[in-house]
Symmetry: C2
């Protein structure tokens, strides 16, 4: 088989981490995309109950996009009970639960619970049913907790790999520390207000020189408008240097043309006054 | 084409909702799975820039699992600028941003921002790049905000449909009101403490009758253990009725056997004292 090197960095996380149990999966390709989704979310342990087309399957490895180690380490089981025998807690994903009396969690809350279960050294499994039918009642009776994905009621049907993706994503997010909002300033820095003032002062001076601000009653509002535009974002030092260059070049053009020629205004003088 | 009826309930949401823009997608099947993921998360508007294999494609409809209306309503554009011309805000998904100076959001924060943008009546687009290469620098320069998915750094590579799935899921979750934790009590109700006491009292009485609690020093601890077991979950009225039946039948067996025969204890009398 080819392409088995891509997952070199994938190793079982230390301690326990939830086991994804695919119950009677039909398509081997889906087993591969499930492994890929698990890798994305930092899950490693895969158990497969009675795969329809047998195991291993080359097509699963091709679909796994490098998550080969997860497939290599996957175990095959004849029954759900066999797959769950050493687990302490069992979650089951189930879009339309009926006639069951059981705790239910959203995917997000389930991920938080799984982190908590894990932190106590308990081994948790998550059951995912076959592509078409989903888990049957006997499978669900093995679970102590159900997981329901809050999704568009007009189109609930989730692809198997996408169901695993959402849970794996929430598992990862439950301990993710990336700031939700950041400002990327690659190889530069946010300009200081002093630097910004330096630019604005120079811009206004050049605009005065070319006559753009000649309408004295409107001048304060127009200058304020320009200031608002440049104050709004976090202008970087690099951008300010570019803007200084723009002003320099535009002024040079006017001066080179020798006089009253005014560059085309980039701000409509009528917008404010 | 077959199977185009499944999406009958899919209609454009009222007002604005974010537009998914697929930039130069390669595989038509992925366009279909993207539409399915959009439907799952309540997104409807799809724009496709320069699809490699042309449009429409039967394979996309087959992969959409009923999200046909999204594909029917999708528009095709020659350039990214054309697809974005009427949009007020542009987000771009980008796993490995380099040499850009721009606000960055996690998928979750991006979804919150998109809800806020939407509530102001502004039209937002989200750019997703081609399967292999992702968005190029020119595409990214059209965006005012980048979206990064916090995922396992050992395996970041996301399938196109899964990238759309996560954003669509977060879009849906940003206004989802399902309680994260619930207890499903289908066609029954949680038993009152009085009903539970009624059962526990009867159980202890039967256990006294059969001699299970004859070790007087250990009796209080054993009764307490049993109580803890039944108090722990939210026992339902239906389950209590079943348990009453179990005690009745087990007792009847003992009585029918005519005397001192004690049923096999299901709780080890040595566990506590």
């Amino acid at each position: 088989m080819t392409g088995r090197d891509g997952g070199a960095a994938l190793t079982p996380p230390p301690g326990e981490s939830p086991i994804v149990v695919l119950v009677r999966p039909q398509m081997a390709q889906n087993i591969g995309t499930v492994a890929r989704a698990m890798a994305n979310g930092g899950l490693f342990h895969l158990r497969i109950v009675a795969p329809r087309d047998g195991w291993p399957q080359e097509v699963a490895y091709r679909a796994a996009s490098g998550a080969d180690r997860i497939l290599d380490a996957a175990t095959i089981h004849e029954t759900v009970d066999d797959a769950l025998a050493d687990c302490h807690r069992v979650f089951a994903t189930c879009p339309r639960p009926r006639h069951v009396i059981i705790p239910v969690r959203t995917a997000r809350a389930a991920a938080e619970d799984l982190r908590e279960i894990n932190s106590r050294g308990l081994r948790a499994a998550i059951l995912f049913g076959p592509e078409r039918a989903g888990l049957d009642n006997e499978d669900m009776a093995r679970a102590d907790t159900l997981v329901r994905y809050p999704l568009n009621p007009a189109h609930m049907s989730l692809n198997l790999a996408q169901a695993v993706m959402i849970l794996a994503y929430e598992w990862w997010m439950a301990e993710e520390s990336t700031p939700p909002r950041a400002f990327m300033t690659n190889e530069t820095r946010v300009a200081t207000k002093g630097e910004l003032e330096g630019f604005l002062g120079r811009l206004v001076k050049e605009l005065d020189a070319c006559g753009f601000l000649d309408n004295l009653p409107k001048r304060p509002g127009m200058v304020r408008n320009l200031r608002h535009l440049f104050e709004r974002g976090e202008v970087t030092e690099q951008e300010l240097r570019t803007l200084h260059g723009v002003v320099t070049e535009l002024s040079r053009g006017r001066i080179a043309r020798g006089g009253p020629a005014v560059p085309e205004p980039t701000v409509d003088p009528q917008i404010d006054g």
